[in-house]
Symmetry: C2
Amino acid sequence: MDIEDSRDPRRDPIGVFDSGIGGLTVAAALKTLLPSETIFYIGDTARVPYGGKSRKTIERYGVEIGGLLLAEQAKIIVVACNTASALAVPRMTDVFKVPIQGVITPGAAAAVAATKSGRIGVIGTRATVSSGAYGKAIHAIDPKVRVFSEACPLLVPLIEEAMFEDPITDQVLERYLAPLLAQDIDTLVLGCTHYPLAREAIGRAAGPGVTLVDSAENCALAVKTLLEERQLGAPDDQLGRLDVALTDSTEGFLRTAQDALELEIGDVQLRTVQASE
Amino acid sequence: MDIEDSRDPRRDPIGVFDSGIGGLTVAAALKTLLPSETIFYIGDTARVPYGGKSRKTIERYGVEIGGLLLAEQAKIIVVACNTASALAVPRMTDVFKVPIQGVITPGAAAAVAATKSGRIGVIGTRATVSSGAYGKAIHAIDPKVRVFSEACPLLVPLIEEAMFEDPITDQVLERYLAPLLAQDIDTLVLGCTHYPLAREAIGRAAGPGVTLVDSAENCALAVKTLLEERQLGAPDDQLGRLDVALTDSTEGFLRTAQDALELEIGDVQLRTVQASE
């Protein structure tokens, strides 16, 4: 018997990739929606954050981490990082045969569905905002919607310090959101997978008239559809698990996300992305 | 004629290494003290910040960037990054023959010279503070001095946003310095090469009774001594210059540091630390 043929590709893991631990918000949504699926998550904590770095560097990181996920037999790669979704997904789609699902398109669809006034705000890292990826994705669905964006470079460090409920975070948010609120937005896209961890503080700063949209849940739905289309969904008898590999062992971040999301994590490993090692 | 022999090693550059652009404070001090020396600076902006990462990862990065500096004929390597000085210098000293000068020992010496009460505070990244490197270096000079340290993980992001004069930075500093001021310190070590860029705000938060010590100037003096000992100082006829290479092209940071330090920078190049490329 050919050993390779005995493997059931439907039992292969969903590969999830983020620059750090923010993408665990997407992993949590996948676990809830697809409890039979095994998820292999890689956080590139050795090189986090991506948000201030260039397209070329982020493309290279995306292809490297994608390669590590394929080595884990990933049947699909979920880019659970807005910066990498905005900048690396086209390159990853060029080089890998497995489907690549980013978080921008699902987030854009959710925002268009949510807005009544047709005025959407987007917050994200400097790299995500400069890429204009949300604007393009939103306009591809509805060209009449107005999109206003604001880079929030301090939000990820504040969230990684677990300062979810803190007057300093509130002030930083007020400052970042002021120009968007001045545009009378009624919907705000949390365009970074870290941000849902500070959802309450963001909601307070945005006020009750603004609907917050994060792409995690919609991204999980898109993954479900893709797996069904390709007949790659795990059989119902499988008990899914979440394994995590990090490129640097900074356990503090992992604990912060795990606590905030009440996530059960199986194996935690350390990987290197250094080709020479 | 043997071409290799014709090279005068005294004219070789001083290699300076930092995780990002903070180490330009050290490059500026070197330029002032040693105007004949050419400085080749590498900022590892593709993987910045180092401050929250593990010893093993920071050691690997130090050896990689050290190798790039040696390829530029560096006659000495200055580790102008407190995190890398605290964690990577021992490993770099093991593998490289050229002298390696970090910033911790000079900073510790300056602090011991400055304190009258024998109570020194140290602020730095999480990695620098956890390493206890300043405490060890200070106690090696004077075991009776009391050392109190505090990790300030938000300071580097605030400085990279050029928020030197900002009520948010002031509040963050007040919070970080409170436990140190409660210990009646009279001297505060700026244990991260970014921090001198926010020297005024730090001085306001620390109050007039506290002397701020940064290692840049003392590190430049230590380099001068080393070069004299090894007869490697550049001849006086040489007009020194500062060349900068970055591992990612995030010009925003570079401009912030350049403006704050009024630095004249020659060539700016982009390097990769990816062995496979």
